[in-house]
Amino acid sequence: MGILEVKNVGKRFGGLQALGDVNLSVADQSVHAIIGPNGAGKSTLLNCLVGKLIPDTGSVTFEGQSVLGRKPHEINQMGISRVFQTPEIFGDLTVMENMMIPCLAKRDGAFSINAYGAMMRDAEIVERAEHMLEDMNMADKRDMHAASMSRGDKRRLEIGMCLAQEPRLLLLDEPTAGMARADTNNTIDLLKEIKASRPITICIIEHDMHVVFSLAERITVLAQGTPLVEDTPENIKGHPKVREAYLGESSGH
């Protein structure tokens, strides 16, 4: 049993069968990549995992518990964090405040009202957030407005915010999309470091093969809403079906 089990999941948008019959098992504390050409259903699958979409058929379980029918914030509180394709952070808040929010979410849950205490005197949260910022090498950007940072820094902050909640499963949706090579390599290093330093499962959706082959232990290839093949990176590289789906080469060559 993997930490995340996807069984017979299907999703239809009007006349389009976005996901056919997806079966996927992500092993605990592994790095699992989901790749596939545009329109393969990668994002739809991810949205089904985090509660943004509800699949028409099938089941999704995390640590043995079904996530279906739960709201995104409830699924997050179960231990699944998500990093978006374009960094989703609190642009109007400072970097420090950005980091304090997941710390509060971790400690106080989905809703807690404290309208009288001073936020900056909550020693536990301040300490935790500062610690996380140092972990992310962002301590010097503490008081910056998050919106004014570079894309790479926003990505780093977003990942840091996810980690502050100590998730068991981290989902990344094309984390290096639109990044320069240097930033991409930094992100790869960051993810490797994260993996090495804590008990976490990483599930990554990616276009960039360089990223996938540097990180993944298992790879699932999606095409037209169904998993084509699932294997180790070495075997995927030479797989004829993958080459066909990706490069449009016919397997007859």
Binding site: Q77, D92, S112, A118, M119, E127
Partner: protein
């Protein structure tokens, strides 16, 4: 001191940390916030003097705003705007129906004064509680939508409330005539009043309308009990709003405004936060409504009309939405215009420009006349447009700009001086 101790473990070798720790705790506020609170306290305390800068009987005396009725409105609408800012300034949800809560608070307050006692405390408490409950219902329904749909829903609720108060609920609201206190009201806690006596609200025996006049030469200053009581309430309301702004709850509300998507995927449900903010700001509106009743002991449905809801939006934006002091400044600004500019009539204008030749005088008066008197809305509208276009951050941003210009001047002057000295020493 305890706060410094609490800060110690969080302090890192970075230069920013000690500066933060030094903030200390004055009433649980940082240094800057505490100074702001002091500033507002001083404004409230000295308003009767500050607002009466012109000697009584002088030509400029009509610009004096230091009379009790108007000053009470300054602080009461200040409370209203402070509360509105908690919702709009922090979460970005623009309610177009907040006057409904003010009105509901007023009705609840006056019924307390009709049935229970002329003491204003039960009236104000009832206003806050009833407005809070009403805003819970309205908020629960309206917050199912966001953006313009939320605004329209709140507007619809407010107009329904107005219509109900104006006609259907006449037995409770007095309909068109509204409600006034009468000597024969069954006040169970008070001794009955003699026939024909006008009931007057009090706070443990202090009459709300009790005033003392102070004379300094040609100047007359009026100190009014009701104003100072409302002023103290506003100071408390302002203090609580600072605490809320700096609290974890306040930070969550700003996060709601900034990015609800991220909030959802950070395990936090935005809805209860926005609903709580809605109810809190509704309670502030109810408090303002209760105080209005405590001051003038009457209510009419027009208090809930949509223009009243629009006015508090204007106050907040004009002063600076999302800032602490902005709503207070905005409400003062608008109430001043409403009461002072609207008092200028044609004969005043003619008197002002009587030094001009006859024909020219008529032309000048004809040009200015549409902007004053009943036309004060025109002036306010133009000012509002100017503020929104040139100072999107409201009057507060204007103040900040002035301060920066001033500092820059001083800084550049200092730099020039230093450079000059350097040149001299080099020679």
């Amino acid at each position: 001191m305890t706060d410094q101790a609490q800060h110690a473990p969080a302090a890192t070798p970075k230069p920013a940390a000690p500066a933060r720790a030094k903030g200390g705790s004055l009433l649980g506020l940082g240094r800057k916030d505490f100074m702001l609170l002091l500033f507002v306290a001083a404004l409230i305390l000295f308003a009767p003097f500050l607002l009466n800068p012109f000697p009584a009987g002088s030509a400029m005396a009509q610009f004096n705003a230091g009379y009790p009725d108007l000053m009470q409105r300054f602080v009461i609408f200040g409370i209203f705007a402070i509360g509105f800012n908690i919702l709009f300034g922090l979460t970005g949800y623009l309610s177009f129906g907040h006057a409904a809560f003010l009105g509901v608070g007023s009705y609840a307050g006056i019924w307390m004064m009709k049935l229970l006692t002329l003491n204003v405390i039960p009236a104000i408490v009832a206003s806050v509680v009833v407005a809070g409950l009403f805003s819970l219902v309205v908020g629960f329904i309206s917050l199912r939508r966001s953006g313009i749909y939320f605004s329209i829903l709140t507007l619809a609720f407010a107009m329904m409330s107005y219509a109900l108060a104006y006609s259907v609920l006449t037995p409770i609201t007095g309909g068109e005539t509204g409600l006034q206190l009468k000597y024969f009201d069954p006040r169970v806690l008070d001794a009955p009043l003699e026939a024909g006596v006008t009931p007057r609200a009090n706070l443990f025996g202090i009459d709300m309308q009790a005033s003392t006049n102070m004379r300094f030469g040609a100047w007359i200053f009026t100190l009014n009990a009701g104003y100072y009581i409302a002023g103290v309430v506003m100071l408390i309301a302002f203090y609580l709003s600072i605490r809320l702004f700096r609290s974890p709850f306040g930070m969550m509300l700003r996060a709601v405004k900034s990015n609800q998507n991220r909030l959802n995927y950070t395990g936090i449900s935005p809805k209860p936060y926005t609903l709580a903010a809605f109810v809190i700001s509704g309670m502030y509106a109810g408090l303002a409504g209760g105080l209005l009743v405590a001051m003038d002991t009457q209510v009419g449905a027009e208090r809930m009309f949509w223009t009243a809801s629009g006015e508090v939006v204007l106050m907040t934006i004009l002063g600076g939405a999302g800032t602490l002091i902005g709503p207070v400044l905005g409400s003062g600004f608008i109430k001043y215009f409403e009461n002072i500019v609207s008092k200028i009539n044609e004969s005043t204008l003619n008197a002002w420009f009587s030094f001009l030749p006859d024909g020219l005088q008529d032309v000048v008066v004809a040009i200015i006349y549409p902007f004053v008197g009943k036309g004060w809305h025109l002036t306010l509208g133009l000012l509002f447009m100017a503020v929104v276009i040139f100072l999107p951050g409201g009057l507060v941003q204007g103040g900040q700009k002035l301060v920066t210009v001033f500092r820059r001047d001083r800084k550049s002057a200092d730099a020039e001086k230093a450079a000059a000295e350097q040149r001299q020493t080099q020679e």
